[in-house]
Amino acid sequence: MISRRSLTRIATLVPFAIALGGRPGPSSASPDGAAHFIEGLIDEAIAVLRIPVEERVSRESQFRTLLRDKFDVPLITRLVVGRHWRRATDAQKQAFMLVFEEHIVKIYTSQLGVYNEEIVAIRNVASRTERDTIVGTEVMRSSDAPLQLDWLVREEAGAYRVIDIAAEGVSLMTTKRSEFSSVIQRDGLDGLIEKLRVLNADQLENS
């Protein structure tokens, strides 16, 4: 089995390959449907990446559209805050949703630099639950070893949406949940909202 040690891959969010085969069983989400969905997503993502890095506004707006369309942002937003969500006021929920979405957009448009004709291939597809599927992909890069990127896709009323990504075994949700939980414990949800606001503004300045 190939092992990786590089933090570089974690930062660029590339997940790790899963074992062969999936769990068999009945599911309303078809593995093929999920795989097809991811293929489409990757094509659209590459189109966004082809936009020159200098055209930041255009890049971000295209990425935001992609995010809202392909990712279950409301679910991700609720889950990343966890149990604190039900105690939040409507104003807090509203503020957090805005600032969190912006956070995601900013991270990814800055992290995903120029597209260098890397090929993204689907390695395998595995059913996780009745409606969740894991689609494992691999990003082939010229300079380095392939990057493993896993997508957790949920099917709802015939539509597919991504609810988590894992890069080399490092899950976005797990990481952000852990981070946000720490901040909420120390500064409360308002503290987190403020910190995210500041971070978004900083990234705006530094780009």
């Binding site: 089995m1 190939i2 092992s3 990786r4 040690r5 590089s6 933090l7 570089t8 974690i10 930062a11 660029t12 790790f16 390959a17 899963i18 074992a19 062969l20 085969g21 999936g22 769990r23 679910l75 609720r78 889950l79 966890g82 149990r83 969500w85 039900r86 956070h103 900013k106 800055s110 992290q111 595995a126 996780r128 639950t129 969740d132 894991i134 896993d150 957790l152 949920r154 609810i163 894992a166 080399e168 075994g169 490092v170 899950s171 949700m173 797990t174 990481t175 852990s178 981070e179 946000f180 939980s181 720490s182 901040v183 414990q185 987190l192 910190k195 995210l196 971070l199 990234q203 530094n206």
Partner: protein, 284 residues
């Protein structure tokens, strides 16, 4: 390219074995008491929900750890990062790659020893062949001929060995200079020193500069390879310490299971069931 690891079934066995180990929480409390002068112990919250979070986080030494983390950041900013940046600026990538390969090759005995202790014959064989091929045909490890032949590098250390033997992480620990670690992985680092032939070379040598210069080169090599990555993590996190803690743990889990988590699920570390939480949230 994806070879079936003979230890896929062992992954679930590891989790079972973990239960056989003693609860290390008393040890954590003892360590916290020792560190009381540094005021490093966190007080567990009373609210049951918060308490559950606290226990799951397993960072009873958080104030102490944050202190060490800050110190490490300071040291990094003042010394290590500038040195690594200078290293990158001064030497072309080909040279730095050669340095990396030589250091990796010198490290293979540690990987071999730990593969042996884990009973992982697949990794043992690969590592031994890599060492032999790269030292001879690769001219002292300068060239990675083994990878060309399909023998990809393997990452094993004593922390992973302890994990395979069933030891849980103990608790999160930030080591001075070395950074994110755990009780288990910290012990692992200590033990690996004995597996490293360089330890014996430097002890038995009368050249005093050998040990420090080897350590310095290793540090430069490691730090220079993660310049952009760490910058990116810091830039995109609201709590850099917490982000690193989470990343470290997930990365370790990945290494321990050699990338093949039980049931082939990379999201296994997600501490919640999406369906369960979602329906609970909706019921509110």
């Amino acid at each position: 390219m994806v070879a079936r690891d003979s230890h896929v079934s062992d992954a679930t066995a590891v989790k079972a074995r973990e239960k056989a180990w003693p609860n290390l929480r008393p040890l954590a409390l003892a360590a916290a008491l020792l560190g009381a002068t540094l005021c490093g112990c966190a007080t567990p919250p009373e609210d049951p929900g918060a308490r559950a979070d606290y226990e799951a986080l397993n960072d009873p030494l958080e104030p102490f750890n944050r202190g060490v983390f800050s110190f490490n950041q300071g040291l990094d900013g003042a010394v290590l990062k500038p040195a690594a940046q200078a290293y990158v600026w001064a030497f072309p990538v080909e040279f730095r790659e050669v340095v990396h390969r030589v250091l990796s090759n010198a490290h293979e005995p540690v990987v071999f020893a730990n593969s042996l202790l884990q009973g992982n014959f697949d990794h043992m064989g690969t590592t031994l062949l890599r060492l032999l091929l790269n030292t001879t045909f690769g001219v002292g490890g300068m060239f990675d001929v083994a990878s060309e032949l399909g023998l990809e590098p393997v990452d094993e250390d004593f922390g992973q060995t302890l994990a395979v033997w069933g030891m849980g992480e103990g608790f999160y620990l930030v080591l001075p200079v070395f950074g994110p670690s755990s009780l288990r992985d910290g012990i692992g680092r200590g033990v690996d020193i004995f597996f490293d032939p360089m330890t014996y070379v430097t002890i038995n040598s009368d050249k005093d500069f050998l040990g420090p210069s080897f350590m310095a080169t290793t540090a430069l090599d490691l730090r220079s390879r993660h310049l952009e990555a760490l910058d990116e993590i810091e830039r995109s996190s609201v709590d850099f310490y917490a982000a690193m803690r989470s990343l470290y743990r997930q990365h370790r889990t990945n290494l321990i299971f050699n990338g093949e988590t039980p049931e082939g699920d990379p999201f296994i570390d997600d501490p919640f069931d999406y369906d369960d939480v979602f329906s609970r949230l909706e019921a509110e």
